[in-house]
């Protein structure tokens, strides 16, 4: 549905986007994740035809955005970082304006009422946008992006500045939209991608540093497995025995509790499961296991390690 090839955007000498390539299939919800200033918004702005790329191609449904701007723009609904609202219009007038702007063919009344219902703007539809709260303005922006039922919807930081309840509402709404639209959303909030997206693209410093299905990303990107175990036994001896297990690359005392128990953090090689040998070893020594946790690497860790890694590589590259 969306295909981006070797996209480059330069502002003066600075690369905002540096040779990005990716594909989004029909019906996917893809999360664009990256720290501030990574090039997320720039990429999305190029996809929607607001900015031009310095080089490279961006295609929607097989049509190049530069060669067929009108056809491509009809297929895309866009919510920019700051929702583009005319403050002197009411919500309904605003949606009607976009309806005209996009030259929609759907039944006007039905379609706009449907959008107002889906985005939960009932009751505010005849209020001036300038009198709405941030959350409702954001919703109005989202409503604007889905007028005309575009095949692709692009959200740039859709939950920015909303309260937790609104964030959950908007996320559910996006998930709902993802059922019959192709959705791209950018964010710097990790839990957001995790809860909404099928696939994650991590972008840092204008480059894509990871492209993974959401389910895989946490396990795969991390080299080692981590276990946290609480044991009733003499700390130092337990630690020494744990370190002796095959496959363990690192072990330390996480916390000592006053009752003679302690928790240990153990990291093992990715391909070794140490839980069984560990159980037998502790049982043999008569040190009961009180709890066993698999903290895994969470998205935050993955994100930071991926971003660090790419920065590290760039430094190495720069020294060559």
């Amino acid at each position: 549905m969306i295909k981006v090839e070797h996209l480059v955007k330069k502002y003066g000498d600075r690369y905002a986007v540096n040779d990005i390539s990716f594909e989004v299939r029909k019906g996917e919800i893809v999360g664009f994740l990256g720290p501030n200033g990574a090039g997320k918004s720039t990429t999305l702005n190029i996809l929607t035809g607001y900015l031009s790329s310095t080089s490279g191609k961006a295609m929607v449904d097989g049509l190049d955005i530069l060669e067929h701007p009108m056809d491509v723009k009809k297929k895309i609904g866009f919510l920019p970082e700051q929702p583009p609202l005319y403050l002197d219009m009411t919500v309904r007038e605003y949606l009607n304006f976009i309806y005209d702007l996009r030259k929609c063919k759907l039944n006007r009344r039905e379609h706009i009422n449907e959008i107002i219902r889906v985005v939960k703007l009932e009751g505010t539809e005849n209020r001036m946008i300038k009198n709405l709260s941030k959350g409702y303005r954001q919703r109005t922006g989202i409503a604007g992006a889905i007028v005309g039922n575009p095949e692709v919807i692009i959200f740039d930081e859709p939950t920015n500045g909303l309260d937790p309840k609104q964030i959950i509402d908007i996320r559910n709404l996006i998930k709902e939209l993802g059922k019959d639209h192709t959705v791209i959303l950018s964010t710097h909030i990790l839990s957001e991608v995790k809860s909404i997206c099928d696939r994650i693209l991590i972008i840092n410093d204008g480059k894509i540093v990871a492209d993974q299905l959401t389910g895989n990303i946490e396990g795969e990107l991390r080299g080692n497995r981590r276990i946290s175990v609480r044991v009733d036994g003499p700390c130092e001896r337990v630690l020494a025995e744990l370190k002796k297990l095959t496959g363990v690359v690192y072990a330390s005392i996480g916390a000592e509790y006053g009752d003679g128990t302690a928790s240990f953090l153990i990291e093992s090689q990715n391909d070794v499961d140490i839980r069984k040998p560990m159980f037998y070893m502790l049982a043999k020594n008569n040190w009961p296991i009180l709890s066993l946790e698999f903290p895994g690497a969470n998205l935050e860790d993955v994100f930071i390690s991926v971003v660090d890694e790419s920065e590290h590589e760039q430094k190495k590259g720069g020294n060559k």
């Binding site: 929607t48 035809g49 607001y50 900015l51 723009k73 403050l87």
Partner: protein
């Protein structure tokens, strides 16, 4: 394009701007009209009245054009219309036409109304009268194009308004400079750029084709430049 035109028209009259423009224009033009034709008893030569009107438009046309582009940029609504299925020339022309409708509409109405007392109490020359009015309509079009261009250069409405005036003043007063200049070549250049010297032949009732071309191409040039400014920003 129609959507943008409709939105601009609506925004003129949901904000005070449209009313302020029409009110100032009606009040000042009526006063100019009264003191220059009725009180002078010059029903047959309304030329000086229309020349004053041109000066009035230098002051009030920026009111109409100042926010056309700058406001969109400031509120980021530009992102909405530029990512919609509308071409850049379409956007610029829609906005131009909206401003022109307000300007042209109020001017045309006033011109027709003012003709009534003239014909009641005197013997005005209809050809000269409406030729002059037509020339003002053309010149106003050029003024608006310049205003649209200035508005595309900045995010600030007031800067847009003042730079529009700064650009319009030379066009209006260029010909008065000529009396201080001896060099024939420079005089020719200045008078061919001047909006008022083009206007003179209309005032004598002659339909001046080169002047028509001049006004229309001046509008076209500045609308084209506006499109280029928007285009350039995309590529920057």
């Amino acid at each position: 394009m129609i959507a943008i035109y409709k939105r601009e028209m609506r925004s003129y009259f949901t904000s005070p701007i449209g009313y302020i423009f029409v009110a100032i224009f009606m009040a000042v033009s009526a006063w100019f009209f009264m003191s220059n034709t009725l009180q002078q008893g010059e029903a047959s030569s309304p030329g000086s009245y229309f020349q004053l009107i041109l000066v009035l438009f230098v002051a009030i046309i920026p009111l109409l054009t100042m926010k056309l582009m700058s406001e969109e940029r400031k509120l980021r609504t530009e992102q909405l219309i530029l990512t919609g299925p509308v071409t850049l020339p379409g956007i610029v022309i829609a906005k131009y036409l909206a401003a022109y409708t307000v300007f042209g509409g109020s001017f045309a109405v006033s011109s027709v109304i003012y003709y009534i007392p003239l014909s009641l109490y005197g013997n005005p020359n209809a050809v000269i009268y409406f030729c002059c009015a037509f020339a003002v309509l053309l010149a106003g079009g050029a003024f608006i194009a310049i205003g649209v261009f200035a508005s595309a250069l900045t995010e600030n409405q007031f800067i847009a308004a003042f730079s529009t005036m700064a650009m319009l003043v030379p066009f209006i007063f260029a010909s008065t400079l000529n009396s201080y200049i001896n060099n024939g070549f420079i005089r020719t250049v200045i008078s061919s750029l001047s909006v008022t010297s083009r206007y003179v032949s209309f005032a004598s009732g002659v339909f001046d084709w080169p002047a028509l071309v001049y006004y229309v191409s001046l509008s076209g040039l500045f609308l084209f430049l506006t499109v280029r400014v928007l285009e350039r920003r995309r590529w920057a």
